[in-house]
């Protein structure tokens, strides 16, 4: 029998949601009506009410608190009330703390939940006091709230809850404790590994700590007799290393820690044995750990895994790449002996470390064109010019992708042999080989190739003509420009367009300028397009009126090219036209103008660019901040900083990237302010790690007063810079008055593992803080 349940928006619900939105816009006066609808039967309507009450803010707080305390007869209403308080814009945290002191355990739980969801740090002592409450529900709510709030202040209370070994309380505490990432979490979690009830959860939590000291206890589980334990340990180790590297970058310390904890061949053998019939997620984790172990057995298994479908294949490939030369021999053997499918899976991994040229050249004659392409790419990565000869044999390959890949590899490798062979092959009877050879001559701009290229303009094949034309422009010889000018009237429009584009690569000689200005009147839009671009590139100010006229060309691409061109002209009229185009309603015109303003680097453009940085289309905002980033003005950083909170991920990432290239204090501060946002934290850390002495000074200054959450991030940024001055800065932090800076610095120096780091830690053996002393002692033991 059929059962119908309405779960999405009906017409009636839609009307009610609109009414609620209307009530919310009117504000405080409608709070009572909104609160009355918190138990609406429709989930969608309740969501709208919650959102409206959260937006109303302060006027809604007291009615919501009142509802929470006195109207608890319906679960849906209670849940919606908690949601509204958790999302409220009002500063209600102190009132929630008072509410948590009430006698009713159910209300206490709700208040704790609100505090947790609002991540109210000042409430940690109060919330922690409830973690030992007689009522299990209250205690669990407190533990979960501590987990949500996070941070080192919560660690002691969570450790106490873990050590209770109380079924209801310990499980949520294990999870929350692991997420703190605090070194103190490791020992109590390790203590649970011997208890079958908590072992798996504790292992996962150890992985989440990201602490080096968690390696040994987890590694020992790799030797366990139970497959599921081995796999759990592998997953935890994989996460552990990922988190560790997010803080400190790649580090030998972790590799050493694992090698010291278990014999790699034994652990690999046991892990490989435990992998039968497991999920892709578990295989990904296993691949990472096998790469970390790095013994022969592990490498052999990784070679097999690398040919599997995603995501396992790429995880194994990454692991093999990280192993570098250690894995090369096994990889080359598998490629040599494998079939096409296996080669296709493995070739993308080789070439990052020196390897055998012969094995890769062998693959150039594989039956599968995909293998031949992959072999060309691997040879390009290998960087051995001896591959050039074999690559030339593929220029005429029956598969166009192979010919293209071989050309690209030759261009990447260069060598004198390339010149000789390309000049020779340019006379090949095979058009595909000839075209590819001409492209290579064009790419390198061999002066000896000029006659070949000039002759190629007479070819029937349009693509050969175009390749030759582009190459001629790169050769510094008066005969080259003359050859281009001889073809400005070519009967084929594409060829004329290619000539215009090529002339833009030459110099603004009078005959070139005259040809380009004539090109602006060509009947073909693409000829006009490239003529316009070329006049801009050559900065022909005398053509400004014609280019401004081209802003009204019948073809859109010509109008846009005119805008681009204006950016290169120094004439005032050109700049005014550009600024006007930057406010065009046509998004392409506007974006082209914004790009142009960035190229022109004129300070007057800043207001226009800042305005465009708030445009409705993400692409326009992205172009605007890219153009702003080209300018050197104090007004740039605030706009970029604002863009780090853009709703579009691409804009956010770009803004962070642009800030990373600015070492100034304000840019560094702008980045640091984003460290607390989980969605961009890793990217910000990477941006801060772009080394610059000025940035190091700012980070050090901030470390003087950083709290327990910020200090590790600041030190992580220094650690990831990987330069002597940044490592010296970590040493400075180890001597600061701020204990959080010292703890973070000690952990980072332990991770760096250099002699200087060990010496610095040895001097901290008498630090007043027990955590610093513990880290120093652990480093000394290593």
């Amino acid at each position: 029998m059929s059962r119908a349940v309405t779960v999405s928006l009906s017409a009636e619900d839609r009307a009610r949601v609109e009414h609620i939105e209307h009530l919310a816009r009117a504000g405080a006066q409608n709070v009572e009506e909104l609160v009355a609808q918190l138990d609406d039967p429709s989930w969608v309507v309740r969501r709208a009410v919650v959102s409206a009450l959260a937006t109303v803010g302060e006027p809604a707080v007291q009615p919501l608190v009142q509802t929470l305390v006195t109207r608890r007869d319906r679960e849906a209403r209670v849940a919606a009330t908690v949601d509204a308080l958790a999302a409220s814009r009002a500063p209600l945290d102190a009132r929630m703390v008072d509410l948590a002191k009430m006698a009713d355990p159910a209300v206490i739980c709700d208040a704790l939940q609100v505090l947790g969801r609002r991540r109210y740090r000042d409430a940690v002592p109060v919330v922690a006091s409830f973690a030992t409450h007689a009522d299990d529900n209250v205690a669990v709510a407190a533990i979960e709230a501590l987990g949500r709030i996070g941070g080192v202040e919560t660690v002691d209370a969570l450790i106490s809850a873990v050590e209770l070994r109380h079924f209801f309380r310990t499980f949520p505490a294990i999870d929350a404790l692991g997420r703190t990432g605090d070194a103190r979490a490791v020992a109590p979690l390790e203590g649970l590994l011997s208890d079958p009830l908590y072992m798996a959860e504790a292992a996962r939590a150890l992985g989440r700590t990201g602490q080096e000291s968690a390696v040994a206890p987890l590694a020992k589980l790799l030797l366990d007799r139970t497959d599921v334990i081995v796999r759990t340990a592998a997953a935890a180790l994989a996460e552990l290393r990922e988190r560790y590297e997010a803080r400190f970058g790649e580090s030998e310390t972790m590799t050493r820690a694992l090698a010291q904890a278990v014999p790699a061949p034994d652990a690999s053998a046991r892990l490989v044995d435990a992998l039968a019939g497991v999920s892709a997620t578990e295989l990904v984790a296993a691949a990472r750990v096998l790469g970390w172990l790095g013994d022969d057995l592990a490498i052999g298994r990784l070679v097999d895994l690398a040919t599997m479908a995603e995501p396992v294949g790429s995880a194994a490939s990454d692991a093999l790449r990280r192993l570098g030369p250690r894995a090369t021999e096994a990889l080359l053997a598998a490629i040599r002996e494998g079939d096409s499918a296996r080669r296709l899976g493995l070739l993308p991994i080789v070439g990052y470390a020196a390897g055998s040229l012969d094995d890769l050249v062998l693959c150039l004659s594989d039956d599968d064109p995909g293998v031949r392409v992959a072999a060309c790419e691997a040879l390009a990565r290998l960087g051995n010019p001896a591959a050039v000869g074999p690559l030339f044999t593929l220029l005429g390959d029956r598969d166009g992708r192979v010919s293209h890949a071989a050309s690209a590899a030759i261009q990447s490798l260069g060598s004198l042999e390339s010149k000789r062979l390309s000049l020779e092959q340019a006379r090949s009877p095979d058009p595909r080989t000839r075209r590819a050879a001409i492209r290579i001559i064009s790419y390198f701009g061999y002066p000896e190739g000029l006659d070949v290229l000039v002759a190629a303009i007479g070819e029937e094949d349009e693509k050969i003509r175009e390749a030759a034309i582009y190459g001629i422009a790169l050769i510094d010889d008066p005969k080259a420009t003359a050859a281009l000018l001889a073809h400005i009237g070519h009967p084929v429009a594409r060829t004329r367009a290619a000539v215009m584009r090529a002339l833009g690569q030459t110099e603004a000689a009078p005959e070139v300028v005259a040809a380009l200005r004539a090109g602006l009147r060509d009947s073909d839009a693409w000829v006009r397009y490239y003529a316009c671009q070329a006049l801009g590139r050559l900065a022909v100010d005398a053509a400004t009126p014609e280019i401004i006229a081209a802003l009204h060309d019948e073809s859109g691409q010509v109008r846009v090219a005119a805008v681009e061109s204006l950016a290169h002209l120094r004439d005032l009229a050109a700049h005014e036209a550009l600024a006007k185009a930057a406010r065009s309603a046509d998004p392409d015109m506007r974006r082209a103008a914004l790009l142009g303003l960035g190229i022109a680097k004129r300070g007057e453009a800043i207001p226009v660019l800042r305005e465009a940085a708030s445009a409705p289309e993400a692409a326009t905002r992205l172009v605007a901040i890219g153009a702003l980033a080209e300018l050197d003005s104090p007004e740039v950083v605030p706009t970029l900083a604002h863009a780090t909170g853009d709703p579009d991920e691409g804009v956010r990432n770009a803004a962070i990237g642009y800030l990373s290239t600015r070492p100034s204090a304000d840019a560094t501060h702008a980045l640091l302010r984003n460290l607390s946002r989980p969605e961009v934290r890793d990217r910000v850390l990477a941006a801060l790690s772009v080394a610059a002495d000025e940035r190091i000074d700012v980070v050090l200054a901030m470390l003087e007063t950083a709290d327990a959450d910020t200090a590790p991030n600041l030190v992580a940024a220094l650690a990831r810079m990987r330069r002597p001055s940044s490592q010296a800065a970590i040493g400075t932090a180890l001597n600061m008055d701020n204990v959080h800076a010292r703890r973070a610095a000690a952990a980072a120096l332990g991770a760096l593992g250099t002699q200087e780091a060990k010496d610095a830690l040895a001097r901290s053996a008498m630090d007043p803080d027990p955590d610093v002393r513990r880290i120093a002692a652990a480093a000394a033991r290593r």
Partner: protein, 285 residues
């Protein structure tokens, strides 16, 4: 020389694609998107991604360049008998009842890729003795996919569910193998579908973002639109679902993919469970 897309050009090109066919590419997809765009750009004879963009925007009146790009960008990975339990239930609960009530029914396989889904529907209908009473329309935005669907020659990956060693189990599997054996012949170039099966499907190129094109298809008892909406941004999902809802008969149903819940969208549809499968119907006024 390797050409790459700057973040700006990626944003410009990806927003053009999203505006025209709804496919949404995030920054995680940027590398894949760039590879495909650069390959098509090179094929089309352009050296700069912006030149290529302007060609798509201003010099592509018949949409030939754009179609080629779409062919490269759409995710065509599918196979026969994918999520077959929900399809069987939908045919039983919706289509069979419509045939019993009116003597005929219409099914639309929206975003059919290379035809595996409409042919699966055709096989199941034929097995139930309903194929003669049901017309199947299958559409996709990619002309290359439609051409492949009409050719109806498939590789082993399309047959993964019924292949030897398939991890799929359950009471349906022997029947599915029997259907595949009945309707496909294996030759050197792949598995050839029975022509009568292929001819039972009317293929058309169609952009789901084009409401006029959708309404030109007429109305259907069952619209199957699976594993497509996940590639669209929320706004686009709403627009497409509105359009699909408009193509439903008053008692028609929409079948979405198992992982695609429309519950979080304010759509003109209600969800109902029928015979263990979740279907969407027009909300009652």
């Amino acid at each position: 020389m390797t050409v790459t897309l700057s973040p700006q050009v990626f944003a410009i090109l990806s927003s053009l694609v999203e505006e025209r066919i709804g496919l949404s590419f995030g920054t995680d997809d940027a590398s894949l998107f760039s590879d495909k765009v650069v390959a098509r750009m090179t094929e089309a004879g352009f050296a700069s991604p912006l030149d290529y963009y302007y060609a798509l925007r201003y010099d592509d009146p018949a949409g030939a360049h754009f179609d080629t790009l779409v062919d490269a960008l759409v995710v065509g990975e599918t196979y026969f008998f994918r999520e077959v339990e929900s399809l069987v239930a939908a045919l039983e609960q919706v289509v069979k009842r419509a045939v019993e009530a009116r003597g005929a029914a219409r099914i639309w396989s929206a975003a059919c890729s290379s035809g595996e889904e409409p042919l699966t529907i055709a096989m199941l209908l034929e097995d139930a003795g309903l194929l003669g009473s049901v017309s199947i329309v299958a559409t996709d935005v990619s002309s290359r996919a439609i051409a492949r669907a009409r050719k109806a020659v498939y590789g082993p990956r399309s047959m993964r569910v019924v292949a030897e060693g398939s991890p799929m189990s359950g009471p349906l599997v022997p029947k599915l193998r029997m259907l595949a054996n009945r309707h496909f012949v294996e030759r050197a170039d792949g598995f050839h579908a029975d022509r009568s099966l292929v001819d039972a499907v009317t293929y058309r190129k169609l952009n789901l973002l084009d409401p006029k094109a959708v309404s030109s298809l007429g109305s259907f008892d069952l619209v199957v639109c699976r594993n497509v909406l996940i590639y669209f941004a929320d706004e686009t999902v709403r627009a497409v679902v509105d359009s699909l809802a408009g193509a439903l008969e008053p008692d028609g149903r929409l079948l979405a993919g198992a992982s695609e819940s429309l519950m979080r969208f304010a759509t003109p549809l209600e969800c109902e469970e029928r015979g263990g499968v979740f279907l969407y119907r027009k909300a009652r006024p």
